[in-house]
Symmetry: C3
Subunit: 377 residues, 3 copies
């Protein structure tokens, strides 16, 4: 055994996820779900290039509708997002003027090969179904056409007419699964956020919480249910913990739930918090943080004001503590779970029931070719 | 199939070059050719270290002649380019004073082992044949001695007594083959450079050009011959393209040709443009851009003035559009060629006839040892 | 053979160390030795995180004693060095409050699982034995408990009551073995440091030195013994070398020795110089440079003054020349040794007798589990 092998052995086995095989394989997220993309107001006529679940995707609005292309011209691989528009309803690659239909992705003209170009109609760039709900753009990241309507993957709060949705979208460096696990993880809340989080300064935060098996399935969600809340206790040979001070007077109950493909819900007295953890690639994720307030117009406006006055900043500072941990957590470290990790296990189990991949799953390029050739018949 | 494999499949097969096997293998360029290195005036007594075709090479001038070493001391691997001169006609490694003959590369002294060092004459550092023509330094990147004179690999314009040669040398990030293909590619000219290139502002640029099979072989060159030039046409379901405006009055015919190991020629009315695409390593290339004007001294000086007044800047801005595309073009994307890519295919076919490797091709270190031991006999 | 393979062949074989198999395998240094860590005064109550021999290690002082943990919480892999203290004699992970005993590394409480957490005592984080001598912290980088007392791995100068120890600790980029070889290498001194080193400006530096077989074993050390010192000589066909000038009047004899796990000693008239080359990972090393002066308090103070006035700066400038070469020396280059490299060979041979690994060598994580479960019985 040489030193390198010895060192690897010394570091111990890696995080072992093999009993959750679908979760283990989901470094790039789960396909066949609708995912949030961006605020509707941020997608206009100029192309927006993003990576989602490992795919480069270009979004662009025309005549009020948002279209999405796989962001690579089948000809020579140039990103279509640097392209330009020559004719309404089409989009042209910047390099050779291959011109695609925005709806179908079919090549309608190869301008630099003249009007009689024999390649017209024989090539298709992949398009993604796009919808808009709740002021957000949503995209179907599937290997075929949508198998569910967009509403099936959007929490009802986002669809309600009386909802005020505010929030922020950031990019963070780590695999999305570590972030989603941290979101639903019950154990860290009473330690990590006890110290240094402004938001919890006046909270009478318990020392530990015991839940019923990590969570109950309620519809699409797995929701944590507290069985026991321990305010403080005597630890053998160490002493009493935690210290509760007179200024710890607030109780801030929060009901936490998580659902596929990686969306968190935290119901609080004043509003509901939602987060999406969306794989960009295997090493980074897009982090959507929303607060949703339902009520009459006055309440909604009041909440919007409170958000910009303090809720936003408290939330940023609070979730930056999570970001600190997620960033430091190596995918390659072994893990040794303890009792409160029942919540993480419940989430991993849920993932094993993620939507299957339809018959259209295979290779997109091949699919593109196939569909295009079917179209020719 | 796990998600990673699925994703790779989804992205489709890579650019498939297997029907041009020599071209496919030429990520580091073709050996056994003379390559341009730098302007002669830029190589003096101080060593110049470069990477060419993956080899680290050191150039240095002594007594008017340029010498080139493989830039790595056989002793401990230190670059010879940080060395110093102890005796005329030799070059010493900076670390232990191993002293090599500039002509032959043979170790003439290991200074720190005393005059009786038994290793003298037993080690050789690889040297490269160097010539100077047209104000440029040229090096034979072969695995043995040159099999052709340097003139065989230099366009005659560079050898003429009445030639003014001006230009620039830059480094760009991509594989040299994508750059060479772009240089000879006919399809992109009428789309990529139609928009935003100052040089073509007043050109009556056609919409498409149809060539005879991608090019005719003329001596060392493959030269494009236009069969048809389409100024504008009606594209079914889309409309007329391109739009020709009243200020598009200039016709700028250009005759484009390419030759091994990767040199482009564009004959224009006022001058001839030459480019070399030279592999530094698999991910970057050196880009030589020359304009050659032949004529009497007055015409040559006039051209030189025009070059510095406007031709240089227009050319930089024009070729930066190409650089933009080349930089965005992934080596790993699939490709789907169309009719105008006949030019690219003609070039790839030419590459299959690149100079073979002589019997001296093998491992340079082994060769070094072999030659040195032959010398000892 | 494709071009990539050809290029690799052309570059020649890599440095071939297979006749010194333990040395070849020691990219991360030799385990089962005491290594210097830092000045004692630099380790206080705030954790110091370092990488040593590839291991992340956290050091921290409590009640005057320094403790060291493997810097990764067994739970989710968070570095313990971002943790905090909840109870004396323990250290808690910042994420979930897993609380470890500083002496034994045993988990004494998982605070967020309440006082009755069943995981207590069942997990252990690896601890490293630590000692302090000569104003420095030393750590046992072994796979089990120390097999020798710390004094066995510390030169006696550091243990003497009449010693003044001054110096600096830096991090350099390369494998530690190239640095250690350079330290004991005899051939480079008379060439590399002849030019540009201020320290040797007035030295009558010889052109070459012939040692007796690279060095004699003297206790733990291999020490070079000069057989012949060549001031200057006539090199056939080249001339006389080196040039000795009238201002070269000083003789600065130095007796150089090296020992495992990579410590250099240079005895000079005024003081003794020591260096440690300590692997951080395979690509970087920590470089300890000490000057030790023994004598009465007055002499010691005088030396300290001289160190800060000029000795330190001359030494930095001198050893930066070595750092320049080490940085440029590729691990992947072939090597061709010559007569003075007998010193390098003597050192490599010594390494083949590095301390063996005890039965406790195996996987630390497994060991941790094993010890913890033994403790439970």
């Amino acid at each position: 055994m040489n030193d390198t092998a010895r060192r690897q052995a010394r570091q111990g086995a890696q995080r072992d996820l093999h009993i959750w095989p679908r979760y283990e394989a989901a470094a790039l997220g789960f396909r066949n779900y609708w995912y949030p993309v961006n605020w509707s107001r941020r997608i206009g006529a100029r192309p927006v290039a993003m990576r989602l679940l490992g795919d480069p995707v270009m979004f662009r609005r025309e005549n009020g509708r948002v279209h999405a292309f796989y962001d690579q011209c089948p000809h020579r691989g140039i990103p279509l997002s640097v392209g330009r528009q020559e004719f309404p309803g089409t989009w042209s690659c910047r390099y050779h003027g291959w011109t695609y239909d925005c709806e179908t992705g079919v090549l309608r003209a190869a301008l630099t090969d003249g009007p009689d170009s024999p390649i017209c109609g024989k090539v298709r760039v992949r398009t993604y179904p796009v919808e808009e709900r709740g002021g957000l753009v949503w995209v179907w990241m599937g290997d075929g056409p949508p198998t569910v309507p967009v509403e099936a993957d959007i929490p009802e709060d986002f669809l309600a007419a009386d909802a005020m949705i505010v929030g922020r979208i950031t990019v963070r460096h780590s695999n999305w699964r570590l972030a989603a696990e941290n979101g639903y993880d019950e154990g860290h809340v009473t330690f990590l956020h006890r110290y240094g989080a402004l938001w919890t300064t006046f909270d009478r935060m318990p020392g530990w919480i015991r839940t019923r098996g990590g969570g109950d399935e309620q519809g699409d969600w797995v929701r944590r249910v507290n069985n026991e809340v321990g305010l403080a206790g005597d630890y053998a040979g160490l002493g009493r913990w935690p210290r509760q001070h007179f200024w710890h007077f607030k109780r801030s109950p929060a009901r936490v739930a998580i659902r596929l493909p990686g969306a968190l819900q935290v119901r609080m007295a004043a509003y509901t918090y939602y987060a999406w953890y969306e794989a960009i690639d295997a090493e980074s994720y897009r982090y959507f943080q929303f607060m949703v307030k339902r009520g009459n117009a006055l309440r909604r406006r009041g909440f919007q004001l409170a958000y910009w006055l303090h809720r936003r900043w408290l939330n940023v500072q609070f979730t930056n503590q999570d970001g600190w941990m997620i960033r430091l957590m190596p995918m390659t470290a072994p893990e040794r779970l303890y009792r409160p990790d029942a919540s993480i296990i419940a989430w991993r189990r849920l993932c094993e029931h993620a939507r299957g991949e339809g018959p259209a799953e295979a290779d997109a390029a091949a699919g593109t070719e196939r569909e295009a050739s079917e179209q020719r018949r």
